[in-house]
Symmetry: C2
DNA sequence: TATCCGAGACGCGGCGTCTCGTATAAACAG
DNA sequence: CTGTTTATACGAGACGCCGCGTCTCGGATA
C-alpha cells in the first residue's frame, strides 16, 4: 500500500541502515508504513504492536520508545494519510460547493486508504485509552473540521451567508454525519453522500 | 434465542427422545447484570468474558453456550437498558417536542446507566467483530431510530409537517449527532443538547 | 562512551476449546 | 406410581495460543 506490498504478510524486512545514536527516520517511517499496511490488509485489530514491529523489521522496544501507545501510533498514521491541506480546495463563492468538495476528497481518501478503518479503530480504543480519546476530541478530526469551517466562515464574512449562520452547528453536523456513516456503512462513503451531507449542513446552519 | 434450539431445518422423521435440565434464567440474568456492572464500574475494556463469568459466579462455557461473542452479550445488555418503548412519550401535535422528549429520555438513560459506554464499546468492536457490526447496523439503534421516526411519520401523515419532509434524513441526522456526542463528549448529553438536536432535526427534514 | 537498534525472553492475563464431576429433568420401563 | 436411563446445564478450571509492556542482551555508530 504505502511500501513493500509485495510477497504478503510475512515479507522479508527491507534492508535499512540506521544512523547510530540518532533517531532513524527510516525506522520511524517503516513502522508507520507497517501499521498502515496491516490495517489495510487485515484490519485494525490485527495491527498489534508486535505485528507492526515484526512487519517493520523493528524491535518492540523501538516502537515503545517513540510512541506511548498503539493509539498514538495509529493516530500519527492517520494524520499522514489525511493531511488537512489535502481537503481544502480552491475557495469559490459557493460555500456549499466548497464543503462538498472537501467532503468528497475525504471520502476518496477513506475509499483508497485504511484511514477510515484507523479512525473507527481509534474510536474503539478511546473507551479505554485516554490518549485515543484526546486524539479524537481535538487532534484527529481537527483537519476535517477546519476544512469544513473555513469556507463557511469566509462566506459569512463576505455576506454570502447571513450573519446569523450557525457555523458551529453546521460543522458539528457534517462531522457527525460522516462519523455515523463511517461506523455503520463505510462502503457508502461516495460522492452522493458528500452531496447529501453538504446540503444538510447548509440547511442546519441556516442558509438564506 | 430464548429457548433451546429445536430440531432445526431438518425434517428428519425419527422422533427425538429425551431432554435435560432447562436453561437457567437466573444464570442468564446474573451474567447480563455482571456485564453491565463491570462496564459501569471499570469500563468496557474490563468487561472480558472471563471477568464477567467470574463476577456472575458462572463458568466460561455457560457464557459461550448462550452468546456467540462478547459483542452479542453486551448488545443484549444494552437492549435491556434501553428498551425502545421507554423512549416513546405521549404523542402530541408537535413532532419537534415529541422528538425532544425521546432524545431527552435517551440522554437520561445514558447518564444513569452504562448504556452509552456499552454502545461506544460496541462501535469499537465493530471494526473487528462482524457480529458487533451487524448489531450496530440493524439491532441496537433500531429502538431509538423508531422513537425518532414515529412522531415524524405521523406528523407527515396528519399534515402537521409538509409531505416533502425527509424523515429518513432527519432521523439519520439525529442518530448521527447523538453518536458523535457520545464518542467525543459523553458528559454533555443533557437536555440542552436534546433540544439542540431536535431543532436541527426538524430543520434538516424541511419543516415548513 | 553514550545511545539507537534488532531480537527476544519474562510474567501476566484474556482468548476460545475442552474435559471433568454434579445436579437435574424428561422418557421410559416395570 | 416408582425407579432407571439418558441427555443436558452448570461450575470449575486446565490447555495452548497470543499480545501486552518491561527487561535485558549484543552489535553498530557517532
Amino acid at each position: 500500500m504505502t511500501e513493500t506490498a509485495d510477497t504478503g504478510p510475512e515479507a522479508a524486512p527491507p534492508p535499512r541502515r540506521f544512523t547510530g545514536p540518532k533517531r532513524s527516520a527510516d525506522v520511524h517511517d517503516a513502522i508507520l508504513a507497517a501499521a498502515t499496511d496491516i490495517v489495510a490488509e487485515q484490519g485494525y485489530a490485527a495491527a498489534s504492536i508486535e505485528a507492526i514491529a515484526r512487519r517493520a523489521g523493528a524491535g518492540k522496544q523501538t516502537v515503545y520508545r517513540w510512541w506511548p501507545s498503539r493509539a498514538a501510533l495509529l493516530a500519527e498514521a492517520y494524520r499522514r494519510l489525511v493531511p488537512p491541506e489535502r481537503l481544502l480546495g480552491v475557495p469559490s463563492d459557493d460555500p456549499a460547493a466548497d464543503i462538498e468538495v472537501a467532503i468528497g476528497r475525504l471520502m476518496r481518501i477513506y475509499n483508497r486508504t485504511p484511514a477510515g478503518r484507523i479512525l473507527t479503530g481509534l474510536a474503539a480504543s478511546a473507551s479505554s485509552d485516554p490518549a485515543a480519546a484526546e486524539a479524537l476530541r481535538s487532534g484527529i478530526m481537527f483537519g476535517d473540521d477546519r476544512a469544513f469551517a473555513l469556507p463557511l466562515r469566509t462566506a459569512v464574512a463576505d455576506g454570502v451567508l447571513p450573519p446569523g449562520f450557525d457555523v458551529d452547528a453546521a460543522v458539528e453536523t457534517a462531522v457527525a454525519l460522516i462519523w455515523h456513516r463511517l461506523l455503520t456503512a463505510p462502503d457508502s462513503l461516495d460522492g452522493t453522500f458528500a452531496r447529501s451531507v453538504a446540503r444538510r449542513v447548509m440547511t442546519v446552519g441556516g442558509k438564506r
